[in-house]
């Protein structure tokens, strides 16, 4: 009897180890309207910033103001998403997007003049990244 109990204990223990990744795969954070709104805000600011890249020569601070707004909201999103349980698949993309925006801000702060082509390509990457995150978040199950 003792042997049977020990054998069953090992079976249950290994069973949990096998089942856990499967459970993790299906337990995902529910839809969070605040998180969705923040991603949407970052994407919208990025869309509004893109046309400003071409007026950099006329109004150098026009883009910088938008970039600062973009950075503030991306940091807000990064901090908001960070500790939501079962949210790993959003935290990583959000961190990568924040990193892109941080690089853009650093360049505007470091250099007096940032090229139009760099600005357009960089902003387009940010738009694509946030759109991809937004699409995935929108499909999360409602609580």
């Amino acid at each position: 009897m003792k042997n049977i109990i020990i054998s069953l204990s090992f079976l249950f223990l290994s069973g949990c180890a096998v089942i856990q990744p499967i459970i993790d795969r299906f337990t995902i954070a529910p839809f969070d309207s605040n998180e969705y709104a923040l991603v949407n805000k970052v994407r919208t600011i990025a869309i509004k910033t893109k046309p400003k890249c071409s007026i950099e020569n006329i109004a150098p601070f026009a883009v910088l103001n938008y970039v600062n707004e973009l950075h503030d909201n991306a940091l807000l999103l990064k901090n908001y998403s960070q500790y939501i349980p079962k949210n790993d698949q959003t935290i990583k993309p959000v961190n990568l997007t924040y990193q892109m925006i941080d690089e853009l801000k650093s360049r505007y702060e470091k250099e007096k003049k940032v090229g139009e082509v760099y600005c357009v390509l960089k902003i387009q990457s940010i738009i694509d990244a946030t759109e991809s995150i937004q699409q995935a978040i929108a499909k999360r199950p409602r609580p």
Partner: protein, 67 residues
């Protein structure tokens, strides 16, 4: 998706060859393409998990109705 990545890389490459962006900017933008791909992969994986989860939840609901 691969075509989109290839298009972006060729656009960055062309801009660098034309002298529109510096070497430093070129390296940064190429790194961004890699990051963008990682973001799209993570989002696709999340969408896949949501789809499987929905199928299982629906199957459980159906089973409870039939039981």
């Amino acid at each position: 998706m691969i075509q989109e990545v290839a298009r972006q890389v060729s656009e960055i490459q062309r801009s660098y060859e034309q002298g529109s962006i510096s070497l430093d900017e070129y390296k940064e933008l190429i790194n961004n393409v890699g990051a963008l791909q990682a973001i799209q992969d993570a989002s696709a994986s999340l969408e896949e998990n949501i789809m499987y989860r929905t199928i299982i939840v629906n199957a459980i609901n159906l089973a409870s109705v039939l039981a």
